[in-house]
């Protein structure tokens, strides 16, 4: 099958430009923050900044995982469902008396397994990523609901449920988790050859294959990373809400994709970074946080979010075209 998009307007994702471009996105984020600081008295309070960092954290990690997949010109619609599902698995394991560390490890392995399944579907069965991940999205919610019998599993481990609320050195633990994921991700994507292979696979699969890149393995890897990030977010969510519930994180896949694209990732593949999706996620979190502080009607909030997505991505395109 041949996919051709003729006009490449996208420019060098060269190093210097990448930094410049992220700067501009960061600029936007800072601009929003300054604006909110002027409009509301409570924005720049330590409590609110903590809240903001906490609220953006989970989407940020999801968006980062998603970015690996999008760079290979794929898509992972299942991440929201994985979050809900793994929160159930984790709660179930903890309540079954499995030690906490083991429960977490097993839950993350569950993420790996789901990623492997996606890779298998795409590589071996030749299914479009959109379809296989849509199918797991549907099925995983079903399995999670079966396990909980449609309700929720309470997690009684206090230490675990306190974690998501804790601060370390004044920074919310959830934000530390973003850093924990982002640093190895940066090394992987931008400094190691595997990262470069991901870009190569997204740019021209055949060329990558002819260069001796194990294309199939890279695709497996991308989906495993995405699903494992989602499973990790499932753990964090379980800690934050203290329950396992299969219907949680509904629609987060779209938020993750939107964050990634706002952060400059191209849905056609081969363009993306680690910092982009993180900034994208915090821009979205800021919009919500700001709207709450400004007491914007929640319906208007949706409208504004939609409009801002268009505006941000549009200006991003413009800037990239001009460079």
């Amino acid at each position: 099958m041949t996919v051709t998009t003729t006009e490449v307007t996208a420019p060098a994702p060269g190093r210097r430009m990448n930094i410049l471009f992220s700067l501009t996105l960061i600029g936007l984020l800072l601009f929003l923050w300054i604006l909110l600081g002027i409009w509301t008295v409570s924005f720049w309070t330590p409590l609110n900044i903590s809240n903001l960092l906490r609220q953006g954290a989970m989407t940020a990690i999801l968006a980062l995982g998603q970015t690996f997949v999008i760079i290979t010109a794929g898509i992972d619609l299942s991440v929201g469902a994985i979050v809900g599902f793994t929160s159930v698995i984790l709660a179930w394991l903890i309540q079954a008396g499995v030690p906490l560390w083991l429960s977490i490890v097993l839950t993350l392995l569950m993420g790996v397994a789901i990623g492997v399944f996606h890779g298998f579907g795409i590589v071996r069965m030749g299914l479009p990523p959109f379809i296989i991940t849509l199918a797991t999205l549907t099925s995983l919610r079903g399995i999670g609901l079966l396990i909980t019998n449609g309700s929720t599993i309470n997690i009684t481990n206090e230490g675990f449920t306190n974690f998501a609320r804790a601060d370390f050195f004044g920074v919310p633990s959830l934000f530390w988790m973003v850093i924990l994921v982002a640093i190895p991700a940066y090394f992987f994507l931008h400094l190691s050859r595997w990262g470069r292979y991901l870009f190569a696979v997204g740019s021209n699969r055949e060329a990558a294959r002819l260069s001796g890149v194990n294309v199939n393995r890279m695709i497996y890897l991308a989906y495993i990373l995405s699903a494992t990030c989602a499973a990790f977010v499932g753990v964090l969510l379980a800690s934050r809400i203290g329950i396992g519930n299969a219907t949680q994180a509904d629609g987060w896949e779209l938020q993750a994709i939107a964050s990634s694209v706002i952060g400059g990732t191209s849905l056609f593949g081969a363009i993306g970074s680690v910092q982009g999706p993180l900034i994208g996620a915090f821009i979205l979190a800021t919009i919500n946080n700001g709207a709450n502080l400004l007491n914007v009607n929640s319906f208007w909030q949706r409208i504004i979010t939609g409009v801002l997505i268009i505006v941000i991505v549009y200006f991003d395109q413009l800037r990239r075209r001009r460079m």
């Binding site: 906490r54 449609g150 203290g242």
Partner: protein, 297 residues
């Protein structure tokens, strides 16, 4: 007004919660309190509601009124919030001892009332309280819906052993899905005599299926909550009854109590705002009429 008391509901996109907000709005106007109307966009969005609570508290309000989406999950965040402001719970509870006051409807009790209503309707139609019945829940994993289902099933089991629950379905929050499920239930189970549709949107879908097939005489449906549509169904007989709470009062009294609490006045710790069964027979009753025609706007 410099006193701010935000109210956080479960799902701003539902009519029921809009009535709660309308009550709160009215109270705000009457008492001179600024009432930001906040809430998640789905009853199953627990994390979203926690974030909203966090943001609301960051704004340093006088008090917070909240209807927790999930009993356990909101416990800790409410504890946390109560450290800085008084927290008033409405509609549903949370796993926290920090609430200054509670104004709740007992959803389990609501389910029991529905079961009684259904049994009564079936008895009026067929002369006996036996036969096959079904329950349709709008969404899985939603605390209040779980409780209604639980109360309903328990009441049927203990009080009406001859009513047999042959289908226990979950939809996806869509009226159309409820409608499709109901038409399929009708096809597959000609012996069906009653259904409990445990929230507004399912009552709309199920009522439509009954109306479509003109089975109002044969299959009795009890819904939960009310709006023009379901009241219309009640009038034409597609629905046999509606369990109606008093959301307007919950909103109004929630703000009133919160204001009192913020002034360190003594408030009642627990208030049950109650649930009533509305049927064609008692619709005209002025008290009931006020419930099913709330002053939303």
């Amino acid at each position: 007004a410099d006193v701010t008391i935000p109210i956080i509901v479960k799902d701003t996109t539902s009519f029921y919660w809009q009535i709660v907000l309308a009550g709160a709005r009215k109270a705000g106007k009457d008492l001179g309190v600024k009432v930001p109307e906040l809430g998640a966009q789905s009853e199953s969005d627990i994390n979203g509601q926690i974030s909203i609570l966090e943001n609301a508290v960051a704004g340093k309000p006088a008090a917070v009124v909240i209807s927790p989406t999930e009993f356990k999950a909101l416990g800790k965040p409410v504890d946390e919030a109560a450290k800085s402001v008084p927290v008033i719970g409405i509609d549903s509870g949370a796993d926290s001892k920090a609430f200054t006051s509670f104004l709740t409807t007992d959803n389990v009790q609501g389910g029991r009332i529905a079961a009684d209503g259904l049994a009564a309707a079936i008895k009026t139609a067929t002369g006996k309280d036996s036969g096959d019945i079904a329950i349709i829940t709008s969404l899985p994993g939603v605390g209040s819906l779980d409780q209604r289902r639980e109360g309903f099933l328990d009441q049927i089991k203990t009080k009406y052993p001859n009513l047999k629950v042959i289908a226990d379905k979950y939809a996806d929050g869509q009226a159309t899905t409820g409608l499709n499920m109901m038409t399929d239930l009708i096809t597959a189970n000609p012996t069906l005599v009653g259904v409990f549709a445990s929230n507004l949107i399912m009552a709309q879908g199920v009522g439509q299926a009954i109306a479509e097939n003109k089975l109002g005489d044969k299959i009795k449906v009890i819904g939960f909550d009310s709006d023009d549509k379901t009241v219309g169904f009640l009038k034409e007989g597609a629905l046999a009854g509606l369990v109606v709470q008093d959301p307007y009062r919950m909103g109004y009294d929630g703000i009133k109590t919160a204001l009192a609490a913020s002034k360190k006045e003594k408030v009642e710790a627990n208030v049950d705002t109650g649930a009533n069964l509305v049927t064609k027979a008692n619709m005209a009753d002025p008290k009931i009429d006020a419930l099913i025609n709330p002053k939303v706007k």
